[in-house]
Structure formats: structure tokens, C-alpha cells
């Protein structure tokens, strides 16, 4: 890519790019998903201007936030070069433990119980992957069976003690036109951004995904970084499970199932590299928003909502695939030109 065509007047523009963070976003592969989201949002608002009413914003927020958190959890695992098949099961377990704890415990303790349950799963996966060096996909496949089974033992049918007050606290409105779910998502995502970008541990997580041997050779504790990634991921996923419990006002041992495939799809749409080391938080959130709202867009457009599965798949394949084709064409053209 580095050719002799480097004009000197580029520095000013590139500095502008850098200060706006666009270079970062490009490098993280987030430009395509952000563009896709903006296009999608535009189409959505044209078809259904009612989205911008208070009630619909709140509904859309409640729909999207658990998926966004599941996708962020998946993103952290993908950053260290793994993949988490058990993410749906972790979500189910945190969901039912939280809902069960709400029956007897005060809210903060119930939240802690839900997070602790998820964290235990994350540490279990992380220990096996980091310290026993087992492949993440196989470990999490096995733990998906185990964790899913445990969550159905905790609660065999939907229920639990989630109160209407908790619904308002997680899924109501903070301010008019500002759903509180979006507010919580912003807080969690910012926290995650801080850990990943502003702490040594976070940089190690990115490093492990780029090149685990270099990280280890540099004398850093690569295993601990991997374990920490699984732990952090499971906490984010558990928070998603608690948000889901709040918005549906129930705990459900199967509530996480559908998030396995959609979280991976969202991370793919976000342009993250599945070999690790590259992926954007904002891209992932917007990718989750896009995929989460396809169904309701079709509903408002009067199209059979079964189309959402087809359209989501096509969005993922084309947003991820088009840049690849584009690059191939570009390289081929340059070769022909030279």
C-alpha cells in the first residue's frame, strides 16, 4: 500500500481526520457499520416518522439495548481472538438468577447476584481458554450446554420477582425523548471503553488479540489478560440480561438463546476482525441497533416480518463483503493502470 505517491499537503487533512477520530474508526472497521446505520435510520424515519415519538423511542431502546450489550460482550471475546458460543446461556443464567433474587433480596443485591452468576461463567470459560489453552469455540460450546442447563434448573419456567419500579428504572424514560435504557447503555459502554482504551489491562486485551506471543514475549501476563477479557465480557453480558429482565418484567431461562447468533452477527457487522485485535465499541452498538430494528421497520412498512431474517443476513453479508470486493476491485484496477 505504501507507494511513492505521498504528497506533502496531506498532513493537514490527515491531522483533521485524526482529531475527529475518523482514522481510528476506519482502522477499527467501523465506517461501514456506521454508514449502514445512518442509511438504515434514514429509511426507518422516512417510512415511520413515528419513531421519533417518546413511546416508540422507548420501545426501540428496550429492544436494542440487551442486544447491544450482548454484542459488546461478544466483541470483547472477539478482540482476544476467540468467540463465545455460550453468550446466550450466560445471558439466560444471569437473567434467571437476577429475577429469582429479586423475589427475596433488595435490588442492589439482586443485581450483584445476577452479575456474580454471569461472572462465574466468564471466569470458568476464561480459565479453560487462557490457562488450559483450550480453543475458545470448543470450550464455550461445552459451557453453553452446561450453563443453559443450570439456568433451567434455577428457573424452569418464566417468572421471578421483577417489580414495575424496576421496569421504570431500566426501561422507562430518563427525560422526555431520552429512554433510560439508552442512558444505561451509554454508561456501560463508556465504562467498557475506559477499561479497554485507558487502562493497561485494556491495552493488553487488544495486544493479546493482535499477537499473543509478542505480548507474552514482552513480559506481560497474556493469560491474565485473556481471563480478564472473559470476565469483563461476562459482566457486560450479565448487565444486558438484567436490562432484558427489566424490560420484559420477567426472568426466562430461554431468554438469552436468540442472542447467541445475533450477537455474533452484530460483531461481524461492526467490522471487527475475528482473528482478534480489532473492533469498535461504537460500531458494535450501532450494528446492534441496525439488526435489532430491522423487524420493527418491516412491521411499520407493512411487510411480512419474517423478511427480517433474510434482510438481516443480507445486511451482514453485504456490509462485511462489499468493502472486500471494493478493495479487490481497487487493487485490480490499480494493477491494470500501472
Amino acid at each position: 500500500m505504501t507507494t511513492a505517491t505521498a504528497p506533502s499537503d496531506r498532513s493537514g487533512i490527515s491531522r483533521l481526520w485524526n482529531t475527529t477520530g475518523i482514522t481510528r474508526l476506519r482502522r477499527e472497521g467501523a465506517v461501514a457499520p456506521i454508514t449502514a446505520f445512518l442509511a438504515f435510520f434514514l429509511v426507518y424515519v422516512i417510512i415511520n416518522p413515528g419513531l421519533l415519538t417518546r413511546f416508540q423511542l422507548q420501545t426501540a431502546g428496550n429492544l436494542v439495548v440487551p442486544l447491544a450489550l450482548a454484542a459488546l460482550g461478544q466483541l470483547i471475546i472477539v478482540l482476544v481472538g476467540g468467540i463465545d458460543i455460550s453468550i446466550g446461556a450466560i445471558m439466560s443464567l444471569a437473567n434467571v438468577v437476577f429475577a429469582t433474587a429479586m423475589v427475596s433480596l433488595p435490588v442492589p443485591l439482586a443485581i450483584l447476584a445476577g452479575i456474580a452468576a454471569g461472572l462465574a461463567c466468564g471466569l470458568f470459560n476464561g480459565y479453560l481458554v487462557a490457562y488450559l489453552r483450550l480453543p475458545a469455540i470448543a470450550v464455550t460450546l461445552a459451557s453453553a450446554f452446561i450453563i443453559g442447563s443450570i439456568s433451567r434448573e434455577v428457573m424452569d419456567r418464566p417468572g421471578g420477582g421483577i417489580t414495575p419500579e424496576f421496569y421504570l428504572a431500566t426501561s422507562g424514560e430518563l427525560l422526555p425523548y431520552l429512554p433510560i435504557s439508552i442512558f444505561w447503555l451509554a454508561i456501560i459502554a463508556t465504562g467498557m471503553w475506559f477499561v479497554l482504551q485507558r487502562t493497561a489491562l485494556g491495552r493488553h486485551i487488544y495486544g493479546v488479540g493482535s499477537n499473543i506471543d509478542s505480548v507474552a514475549a514482552a513480559g506481560l501476563n497474556a493469560k491474565r489478560a485473556q481471563l480478564a477479557a472473559f470476565a469483563l465480557s461476562s459482566v457486560v453480558v450479565s448487565l444486558g440480561a438484567i436490562m432484558l429482565a427489566g424490560s420484559t418484567i420477567t426472568g426466562d431461562p430461554r431468554s438469552g438463546d436468540s442472542y447467541l447468533l445475533s450477537s455474533i452477527a452484530a460483531v461481524a457487522l461492526a467490522g471487527a476482525s475475528f482473528t482478534g485485535g480489532r473492533g469498535s465499541i461504537i460500531g458494535t452498538i450501532l450494528a446492534a441497533c441496525t439488526l435489532g430494528l430491522v423487524g420493527s421497520l418491516l412491521f411499520f412498512a407493512g411487510i411480512n416480518s419474517y423478511w427480517q431474517y433474510v434482510i438481516s443476513a443480507l445486511i451482514v453479508i453485504s456490509v462485511v463483503g462489499i468493502p472486500v470486493i471494493w478493495k479487490r476491485l481497487y487493487l485490480a484496477l490499480r494493477k491494470a493502470h500501472a
Partner: protein, 346 residues
């Protein structure tokens, strides 16, 4: 089937202290027993474990130690095995096929739809062709666009779910043609035993597939592409085409299993494949395949399915419920990958 022929072996059975062996990272010589074990082909392990579980079942409840019980478990396991043969091919060439569940549903429902215009056999061929096209699309996206197999096949799985829901009116599709019942559920006589036709059918399929994998150039190339794609490319192998063919085989077999499942259980629905998402990967892994590619066998996958099937039988007998069965499946997969990883590292 190319197991452990690399190390030069001394058959005199000497138990010398480790003076002669100066190989790095071996501070203890394996004993005779360990060496016999290490020479056993991987695919024999799951079969051995199955036999052990079968005997344990007999200890718990003597009437489980019967031919009827064996046939019952084997029939159940064979259905899972047939659904997992395609996954085996996908895993061997270094990928994974998470579109198996909805390929199963899609092919089952297209079969039931196609028998109207095309007849039972024509529908069979049509549904298999449709399945193969799915695999070719998967393979092309993975090989040519460079998308991750997981993402590609998940997207395909979602797309097929939409297609299934949009295309088929499931309630109208419950008439199973006699032809299909005959090759799956009908009891036939094999060596004086009455077994469901799906059992010999699956065995024949397994033998054919294993022969193709082990003894044809194309079969061997799947292993090569799975274990060392760069080397394969340098050796002039058409890696992309081999990959695409691997996914096509995977989807073809998933489509085949879809038709078999609908024939055996005599019912079809949009979610009929759901349990095979994790189930097929579990059977393949328990069967000794490496999730990283380059290793696996059809016999092993059948063995894996038999282990899972026998666990299901034991759990049912002990009245523990399907939930505990899932838990045990998970533990088994975990033990298996831990053991294989340890062996692979030595």
C-alpha cells in the same frame, strides 16, 4: 486414519530408564500400556467409551444390556450422526457449518413441497440439489470473500430461517410419502434382527463417506486444506475450490439428514433443526475431530453420536430429565477437548 505412524517404534518392549531417548520435552517414557493406547486410532476412542457406557448401563439396570436397547440407542444416535456427517466435513477442512439446523428444516420442507410436482424420488433429488446450492454459496463467501466461516454460516442460517417461514405453510405438509418411510422408519430384517431402515442406511452412508475421505485425493485434500491451507496453496492445490466443495458436501449431507429426519419422525417444522446446531458440533468433537481443522473422521462422528445417545438413554433410565442430559453433554465435550488437547500437545 493417519495416526501415530510418525514415531519410530521399538517393538521389543524394553522398559529402559530414559537414557536412550533424548527427544526434547519428554522427561518420562510412556509405559507399554500408554504406548498401545497412543497407537489406537482416535476414532476408536468414542466407540470404546460407548461400549463402556453401555456396560455401565447394564450394571445399573440389567435389561439395558440387551440387543433391543442397543438398537434403540443406535437408531437415535444414527439420526444425530447423519445430521453430523456434514458438519464433520466442514470441520475437517478448517471451518464450521452453523447453517446445519435451518438447512435441515429447509430441505425437509422443500422435499415435502417438491414431492407434489416431482414425485418422491424427484423431490429427494431436488431437495438435495437445493441443499448443495446452499453449501456452494457458503463456501464461495468463505473462500472468495474471506468472511469468517462462523459469520457466513450464521448469516446463512438466519437467511434460511426467513426463507422457510416465508415459503412453506407447515400445517399443510404432514403427508410423508411411503418411499421415504420405507428407507427410514420401516422395520427391516438385518441378519435376523428387526431394525429401523435408517440404521443400515446410515451405516452404508458412513462407510461411503469414510472411504471417500480416506482414500480419494479429494478427501485427503480436505484434511490438507484444514491443517495447512498455506502449504496447500504453495503445493498448487486449488484451495478455494476444495473449501467450496467441503461446504457443499456439508450442506448436501445436512439436506440429506433433513429428509431422513422428516421421514423418521414423520413431522416437520421450521424449528426442527434447532437441536442440531450445538448437537452436531458436539458429536463431531466427541468423535475426535479438531475444531481447528485437519482432523476428524466419519466413524469417529458416529462414535461421538453413540456416546451422546447412550448418555441420553442412561439419563432417561435414571429419570433425570433432558435438562441434566444437556449438562452431561457439556461436561463430556469439555472432558473430550481437554483430553485431546493434552494428547495433541505432547
Amino acid at each position: 486414519m493417519t495416526t501415530t505412524s510418525s514415531s519410530p517404534e521399538t517393538h521389543n518392549g524394553a522398559f529402559d530408564p530414559p537414557t536412550a531417548g533424548t527427544a526434547p520435552s519428554s522427561d518420562r517414557r510412556p509405559g507399554r500400556f500408554a504406548r498401545i493406547l497412543s497407537r489406537m486410532p482416535r476414532s476408536a476412542w468414542p466407540l470404546l467409551v460407548f461400549a463402556l457406557l453401555f456396560l455401565i448401563g447394564g450394571l445399573i439396570r440389567p435389561n439395558l444390556l440387551s440387543l433391543d436397547s442397543l438398537i434403540g440407542t443406535a437408531t437415535f444416535a444414527m439420526i444425530l450422526a447423519i445430521a453430523s456427517f456434514g458438519q464433520t466435513a466442514a470441520v475437517i477442512q478448517g471451518g464450521i457449518d452453523l447453517s446445519v439446523p435451518n438447512t435441515i428444516a429447509f430441505s425437509a420442507l422443500s422435499y415435502l413441497t417438491l414431492i407434489g410436482p416431482l414425485g418422491p424420488v424427484g423431490g429427494f433429488i431436488g431437495a438435495l440439489a437445493a441443499g448443495t446450492v446452499i453449501g456452494i454459496i457458503n463456501g464461495t463467501i468463505v473462500a472468495k470473500l474471506g468472511l469468517t466461516p462462523i459469520v457466513t454460516t450464521i448469516a446463512m442460517n438466519g437467511l434460511l430461517f426467513g426463507v422457510v417461514l416465508l415459503t412453506f405453510k407447515n400445517s399443510e405438509l404432514t403427508v410423508i410419502p411411503q418411499f421415504l418411510t420405507d428407507i427410514t422408519a420401516t422395520k427391516i430384517d438385518v441378519f435376523g434382527l428387526s431394525v429401523a431402515a435408517v440404521l443400515p442406511l446410515g451405516l452404508v452412508l458412513m462407510v461411503i463417506l469414510q472411504l471417500v475421505l480416506s482414500y480419494t485425493g479429494w478427501g485427503r485434500s480436505l484434511f490438507l486444506v484444514g491443517s495447512a491451507p498455506e502449504t496447500a496453496k504453495l503445493a498448487g492445490q486449488p484451495v478455494d475450490r476444495i473449501r467450496i466443495a467441503g461446504y457443499a458436501l456439508s450442506s448436501f449431507l445436512a439436506a440429506f439428514s433433513g429428509i431422513i429426519i422428516v421421514g423418521f419422525y414423520a413431522q416437520a417444522s421450521a424449528t426442527m433443526g434447532a437441536e442440531y446446531l450445538l448437537g452436531s458440533v458436539a458429536a463431531v468433537l466427541v468423535g475426535g475431530a479438531s475444531i481447528a481443522g485437519g482432523r476428524g473422521s466419519m466413524i469417529g462422528t458416529l462414535g461421538g453420536a453413540l456416546v451422546l445417545g447412550q448418555v441420553a438413554t442412561l439419563v432417561a433410565v435414571a429419570n433425570l430429565g433432558s435438562n441434566i442430559q444437556q449438562l452431561i453433554y457439556g461436561v463430556i465435550v469439555l472432558i473430550v477437548i481437554a483430553l485431546y488437547a493434552r494428547r495433541g500437545r505432547d
